[in-house]
Amino acid sequence: MKNLVSAVVLILVGLIALLGGCSTYNGMVNADEDVDNAWGKVQSAYQRRADLIPNLVNTVKGVANFEKSTLTAVIEARSKATSVTIDPANATPEQLAAFQQAQGGISQSLGRLMVIAEQYPELKANQSFLELQSQLEGTENRIKVARDNYNDVSTAYNKKVRRFPASLIAGMAGFKQKSQFQAEQNAQDAPDVKFE
């Protein structure tokens, strides 16, 4: 009799644990999807900027004797950045830092380009340059928003995965911590596109 009762209790406890485990697991799956989605937005924002660069370079090139080295720096930074692709699901902090650095290279070279462009009255009166300039500004803002959002969402995910006892389930199911963007020097060097 006693054995039966303890068996029933054990089965009940087991069931509750199983149900709890399932919902914890499902919660992690949801959070994981959110992170993927947020990462997709980060990538498309960076891609949007990379897509603007050829147009920008061509417009600037069209203007008389624009400093060549600045343009090559932008083009080089762009090709370097597009070669660094990472899978956010398995990215180590170092990989993400490398990605961030490559993108930061674009920000820096674009920032220099914009500063130099200020010295060319011909450019400042060029309608398509002005439009590209405002598109670039909007894109930098989109990158910032997407990155902040990614960090928020991945923080929520990491909290789910690291807390005890959920961490046991995460370990079994192979949910790893997500790396995050770091605030750094490059982020502050984003092209300061201003009209005077």
Binding site: S134, T139, N141, V145, F195
Partner: protein, 267 residues
Amino acid sequence: MKMKSLLLLLSSLWVMNGVFAKEIPARPQTLVNDYAGVLSPAQSSALEQKLRAYEDSTSTQIAIVIDRSLEGEDAFEYSFRLAQAWGIGQKDKDNGVLIYVAQAERKIRIVTNVGVQGFLTDALSKRIIENTITPAFKKGDFYAGLDGAVNDIIKVAAGEYTNDSKGNAAAGGAISFLILAAIIIGVFVLFSVLSRRSNNGGRGYYGGGRYDDRGYGPGGGWIIFPGGGFGGGGSDRNSDWGGSGGDDWGGFGGSDGFDGGGAGGDW
């Protein structure tokens, strides 16, 4: 020394947590919110009427906020947070625009939700600020600048959105016709079933034998229920339309799709 760095760390954490950030006002019941008091009541309500009429015909929400000061926060950051927190634009369409003005800092921002970026690009937003808002603001005429900007946005959207609104109206008409038809058929079937029942005294031998073969008997119930369901949907929709047509504005749509798009300027 240790204490100092700890304090520094704490204060930087505070900044990150937004304790120093400007507080966002509760969701208002108007599209035009002049916290700086630069518009006369007549100007404010003229703008409000125009924006509500525009929302009625296109569902696009254009909100205007004039603040006294940004209280040290960045114009982009604050206007973005504000638009996101208020949820400007319909939830499923993300079609919201915020025209934000900070009086003390002389900053202007047009914040666009993703649903309007197809026509109101960053470049066009910039152009509207530079060509319409800034010149009027420089003369001190806030109303002219804002009204002109609203007109510009409506004009820019017209290419894409007249079609959209026509399509919606047509679809709406088709839906209400279907609902009406469903109600009429539902009532008709209900009556015929009821009268048949009373004539035959329920499901008699004759009715059961003949109709059940074709699956008609249970079919009666099937037809009635969808009919009743549609009828309910119809009245819901009608009351929705009544609401938006009246004086009470329905509030912001609750869209949170802002992605940082838009443009900024000053005067």
